[in-house]
């Protein structure tokens, strides 16, 4: 286990658009710890809505509609290097990925910058077919359903700030 790393600290006030700023690499959990039932108190319906909006705007050819998704008050993430081979670390480094402590809650957190990056690419224009785009979004929807099951299994309760923003808190 490493120490807290400022590069993956996530602290951002809610604001329009993708409000989470991951200043650095994409945090991902080690796959061995994915289905450990850790709860992450976040409303996946907002993610679903963001995915739906992104799909609709992309298929409509719109370039001015980005999904609204806000997550705030994330704590710093703890990098993990133990258990990774030299080659696995090199692979992660190349793709700007940092393994951090946690389970599928981290995957859910990572969906915020991932969706932001995806929105940028789709609105910049791509040669994906409508079918490809729909399959991409359906895959992300299936991921949300999967992660939602994890939260449900853990008895997670949803939390929402007074102003309606999602409240995520990674211990």
């Amino acid at each position: 286990m490493g120490q807290s790393n400022d590069n993956t600290a996530v602290v951002q006030d809610a604001q329009p658009g993708f409000a989470v700023t991951l200043t650095g690499k994409l945090p991902l959990p080690l796959p061995d710890y994915l289905d450990n039932g850790e709860a992450f108190p976040i409303d996946v319906q907002d993610f679903s809505q963001a995915i739906g909006t992104l799909l609709e705007s992309t298929l409509a050819g719109s370039d001015d509609v980005l999904p609204h998704l806000s997550v705030r008050a994330m704590q710093a993430l703890t990098p993990v290097t133990a258990g990774l081979t030299h080659k696995q670390r090199a692979y992660d480094d190349y793709f700007d990925v940092e393994r951090v402590q946690g389970g599928s809650n981290i995957t859910l957190l990572s969906m915020v910058p991932v969706l932001g990056g995806l929105a940028t690419e789709l609105h910049a224009g791509s040669s994906l077919t409508v079918g490809d785009t729909e399959r991409l979004m359906d895959g992300l929807q299936a991921l949300l359903e999967t992660l939602n099951d994890t939260s449900s299994d853990a008895g997670c309760s949803l939390q929402r700030d007074a102003d309606g923003s999602l409240l995520g808190d990674i211990a």
């Binding site: 994409l26 991902l28 959990p29 080690l30 796959p31 061995d32 994915l34 289905d35 990774l84 081979t85 030299h86 080659k87 696995q88 090199a90 692979y91 992660d92 190349y94 793709f95 700007d96 990925v97 393994r99 599928s104 995957t107 990572s110 969906m111 910058p113 991932v114 990056g117 995806l118 940028t120 690419e121 910049a124 791509s126 040669s127 994906l128 490809d132 785009t133 399959r135 991409l136 979004m137 359906d138 895959g139 992300l140 929807q141 299936a142 991921l143 359903e145 999967t146 992660l147 994890t150």
Partner: protein, 196 residues
């Protein structure tokens, strides 16, 4: 498209791919648990979600490689020494490693699968095939029948082209999910692939 645009797309597409692969891993682990417990409903859900995630991952890979060929050549160079260690390959992904380990763990259960789950298994297998074909499509678009990154490393014994390498991975994965019709020799193929 500038090279910066291309690299951003390459990374963003892979980031989408990575979270989807993690979802696949979760569903494969749930599938294993469900099959061990003979929980048909949970197994059916895991099969179908994994299939949707696999199809999503195929599309993510298409997006990652959606750029002019001249841009990809620069990206390809970024995946060769001295930028990265020799033999850089998708096999180095820890998520891919766990996914393959889970498929091996699933194999005996897939071989003796309840016939009620056969339609879901077939959908899952077909999606896995499409995921590997998407990889091959991107590879073929940019590399043709050229060498894989690992093959470029002179210290390696692998003599497969990039496409041949991908097809070998595809065959290995499909053998693991094909149930009773799977051919023998998966372990041997795995050892050979470790060299590529």
């Amino acid at each position: 498209m500038t090279l910066d645009d291309a690299m951003r797309r390459w990374l963003s597409g892979h980031h989408v791919f990575f979270v989807l692969i993690q979802g696949i891993v979760i569903n494969h682990q749930r599938l294993l648990k469900a099959l061990q417990q003979q929980d048909i409903a949970s197994a059916r859900r895991a099969f179908l979600r994994a299939a949707r995630l696999l199809d999503g991952s195929a599309a993510a890979m298409l997006l990652a490689g959606d750029m002019p060929r001249d841009c990809y050549e620069s990206i390809r160079l970024s995946m060769t020494p001295p930028a990265v260690p020799e033999g850089f390959s998708g096999v180095w992904s820890v998520d891919h490693r766990v996914m393959m380990d889970d498929l091996k763990a699933l194999k005996s259960h897939i071989d003796t699968l309840d016939p009620l789950l056969e339609p879901e298994r077939q959908a899952w297998k077909a999606a896995m095939d499409r995921a590997y074909q998407a990889h091959a499509h991107v590879c073929e678009h940019f590399v043709g029948d050229g060498p894989s990154l690992a093959m470029r490393s002179e210290s390696r014994s692998c003599q497969r082209s990039a496409l041949e390498n991908l097809d070998a991975f595809r065959q290995r994965a499909l053998a693991l999910v094909s149930g009773r019709t799977a051919t023998a020799g998966t372990d041997t193929a795995s050892e050979e692939l470790e060299q590529c």
